[in-house]
């Protein structure tokens, strides 16, 4: 029964893990299947993609992990040119060779997409896919740099070097043994391998972070795996580091005291400096892992929030625009992504338009009119003229009534005005200003005011009577009453009585 269980567990439950381990080999076999027979009519048929891939990976490990440098495309290109000439004796012209190297680079990068490895998951009973990338790219200060992925390093090391959950621990145990057996040169090689492993783990940490930011569910799985295989070994690794450091210090002391060790001094120093470098890098790995932990928590929290929010689906939006047949509306997507358009320039196309503007066949003569300069009338003069005209109308009505009647009221004057010019005088401001001026004096004598006009109104009466002679000798008085003339929405004015003659008034 238990045997059956073990069998089932091995087949079903361990399958996922086995596939996870296998996936790193997938790109190699996919690429090595590739033949150059179709490329450029088989001109480069002798090239072997498997060999080229291994060489490129080794080159990246050298640069990224040993020298801690990122690789530019030009460096890759130079390395590949050497391989082509040295190993495959490619003697094509430079341009063709560069094209071939670019073609290989795109193949190793799977045209910018990860290699997708599909397998059957017996636990969930469905097909699943895993992504593997060999080379990563990142933009730093506007330059694109390439680096090897941890999967690729793992794959490369698996092909020769033995791998375990913590390479660092194994290597350190080995290092301890080598120091004890005084094989310092071998020890230095082991420490270099440790350095390379630390470099791989640093790269792995960045990849975990990248997966977390793209796909949090997948990312959490990768993160847990990383924790199980890397973080949990830190304590052991650090203990071993200090043990080995002690061993080296002892070896140094011995070398200083015993002359037979003296020749190994140089090797011990080199080993010590390599180990110090490894300890520093290991410390950095530790702090990076702590940083990863903080960022992972943040990303998981953010993912929880965004999972409640529906994202904007470009394809759905495009489908709607297509239904509308409005290609111009794609600008809704494009325009917000553009930079600010700050420089405002005169459009050169406008110069084109100006040059292309059709001029008249012949120049027309511009006629110059001999115009006389007109007298300029100021605004206040226009107003004065208007007031004089309106006051003339009012005076005409008032004085005409005085010629006919000896006593009458303002209401009667207004009635007469209504008959002659209609209701519009009620809304004319000049009428009210006329009344205000009129009430400034209680007695008016045409002959006297014609000689010495005292007020503004008397001046106007004088001018009016100069033109119309019939009012000469007229004399009138103004008497107040308690009556009020109500004019809704405009004004209320006190009624007055006009008395023509000697002026027997009550004051």
């Amino acid at each position: 029964m238990s045997g059956e269980y073990v069998l089932k567990r091995d087949i079903i439950y361990d399958h996922n893990e086995r596939m996870l381990n296998i996936r790193k080999y997938y790109p190699y076999f996919k690429l090595s299947e590739m033949s150059f027979r179709q490329y450029k009519e088989g001109q480069f048929e002798n090239l072997d993609m498997g060999y080229i891939l291994m060489a490129v990976l080794r080159f990246f490990i050298e640069k990224n992990n040993f020298n801690e440098e990122l690789v530019t495309y030009d460096e890759y290109e130079k390395f590949m040119s050497d391989i082509m000439i040295r190993d495959f004796e490619v003697k094509e012209e430079e341009k063709k060779c560069k094209e071939l190297i670019r073609f290989i680079f795109d193949k190793i990068n799977n045209d910018g997409r990860p290699f997708v490895y599909e397998y059957f998951n017996p636990v969930e009973k469905k097909r699943q896919s895993m992504r593997v990338k060999l080379i990563d790219a990142k933009i730093i200060d506007g330059i694109i740099y390439y680096s090897i992925t941890s999967d690729a390093v793992e794959f490369y090391l698996d092909t020769k070097e033995v791998r375990d959950e913590s390479n660092i621990t194994i290597e350190q145990v080995l290092l301890g043994k080598l120091i004890s057996s005084k094989n310092f040169k071998g020890g230095t090689r082991v420490v270099r391998r440790i350095n390379s492993e630390v470099g791989r783990l640093l790269a792995k940490k960045n990849e975990v972070l990248a997966v977390l930011s793209h796909d949090v569910f997948q990312g959490v799985k990768v993160y847990e795996e990383f924790n199980n295989t890397v973080v949990k070994w830190f304590d052991d690794e650090q203990k071993l580091f200090s043990q080995n450091k002690e061993l080296i210090e002892q070896a140094l002391k011995k070398a200083e005291s015993e002359s037979r060790y003296y020749s190994a001094m140089q090797d011990i120093y080199m080993l010590e400096s390599e180990l110090n470098k490894a300890i520093t890098r290991h410390g950095r790995l530790l702090s990076e892992c702590t940083d990863l932990q903080i960022k992972a928590d943040e990303l998981i929290a953010k993912a929880k929030l965004t999972s409640l929010r529906i994202s904007f689906d470009f394809r759905d939006y495009f489908r709607r625009l297509k239904d509308l047949d409005r290609a111009d509306m794609i600008e809704n997507i494009i325009v917000p992504m553009l930079n600010l358009n700050v420089p405002k320039k005169f459009d050169i196309i406008n110069i084109d338009d100006m040059l292309l503007y059709r001029t008249e066949g012949e120049e027309k003569v511009e006629k110059i009119k001999d115009e006389q300069l007109k007298e300029y009338v100021y605004e206040d003069e226009i107003e004065d003229k208007r007031i004089e005209h309106n006051y003339g109308i009012f005076l005409g009505v008032l004085l005409d009534m005085m010629m006919k009647k000896e006593r009458f009221t303002l209401s009667e004057v207004e009635e007469e005005l209504r008959k002659r010019i209609g209701y519009k005088f009620e809304k004319n401001a000049d009428w009210y200003s006329f009344l205000v001026h009129l009430c400034q004096k209680k007695e008016y004598e045409i002959n006297a005011l014609s000689e010495h006009p005292d007020t503004f109104l008397e001046e106007k009466i004088k001018n009016y009577c100069k033109e119309v002679q019939k009012y000469q000798g007229l004399k009138f008085y103004i008497e107040s009453t308690t009556e009020v003339i109500n004019r809704p929405d405009i004004a209320s004015i006190s009624d007055i009585i006009f008395v023509v003659g000697n002026g027997d008034t009550d004051g």
Binding site: F314, L324, V335
Partner: protein, 246 residues
């Protein structure tokens, strides 16, 4: 309001408007970035200025990115300016370029929360993508009568694309930006997107920049409602025009 904070906020805003990148990773702008992140008053002033000027500001990977949004008359591009920038003259050519840019974006993102894991794109990828996206429209064109089509329709841009040869000369490596071929058009668009700091080129491969990622992952989610309203508005207009026609 603290004068110093106002000065810092203005400094940040002026840098952004001038098109300078404010990033924690850049020595010259690291202090400004810290002011923006750590000083709430500076943050508020900068955000208020942006809002009042119809600009959107986003923070992505410790860098600030600004967008003119849609219909910004002061900081945005007019159709004419865009045509000039890209190097085309007709509206339908501009709409085709929009379409190609859309093709580039959807190679990297299917929606704002899912990257497609594509690291870079090349001219041939985009030609293939545009071909396939326009395929259904092209099919409709072939079945259609020879009615005159609107310049802003998909049929118009499909027609324009269909008429173009793949390349003018056989040397695909040295394709020049031009309106004479599909590859030339894509190159025109790539050049424009590179100038707009949305893509970065290395030996024919175009990589998405932080700016492209920042705007895609932030702007569209924030303005989703408005974008869909524009489509709804266009549907109503179309229905109205149809009724008028009847």
């Amino acid at each position: 309001m603290d004068n110093r904070n106002l000065e810092k906020a203005l400094e940040i805003f002026s840098c952004l408007v001038k098109g300078e990148e404010i990033s924690a990773g850049k020595k010259e702008t690291a202090s400004l970035y810290e002011e923006y992140i750590d000083n709430p008053e500076v943050y508020d002033i900068v955000m208020t200025m942006c809002r009042k000027m119809n600009l959107s500001l986003y923070e992505y990977n410790d860098t600030l990115y600004i967008s003119p949004g849609k219909g910004n008359r002061v900081f945005g591009y007019s159709n004419e300016e865009l045509k000039k920038e890209i190097g085309i003259r007709l509206n339908r050519e501009l709409y085709l370029c929009y379409f190609v840019m859309f093709g580039v974006i959807t190679r990297f993102y299917s929606d704002t929360s899912s990257e497609t894991f594509t690291e870079y794109v090349r001219s041939e990828d985009i030609i293939a993508a545009v071909d396939s996206m326009l395929a259904s429209t092209l099919k409709e064109i072939n079945l259609m009568s020879l009615d005159e089509v609107e310049e802003n329709s998909f049929q118009a841009i499909s027609g324009l694309w269909e008429e173009l040869p793949l390349v003018v000369n056989e040397d695909a490596v040295s394709v020049k930006a031009s309106k004479g071929s599909k590859a030339g058009y894509v190159k025109l668009v790539f050049n424009f997107m590179e100038k707009q700091e949305l893509l970065l080129q290395n030996d024919g491969r175009y990589y998405p920049t932080g700016r492209l990622k920042a705007l895609i992952e932030n702007y569209f989610d924030e303005n989703k409602g408005e974008l869909y309203n524009l489509v709804k508005g266009a549907v109503k207009d179309a229905a109205y025009q149809q009724n008028q026609g009847e």
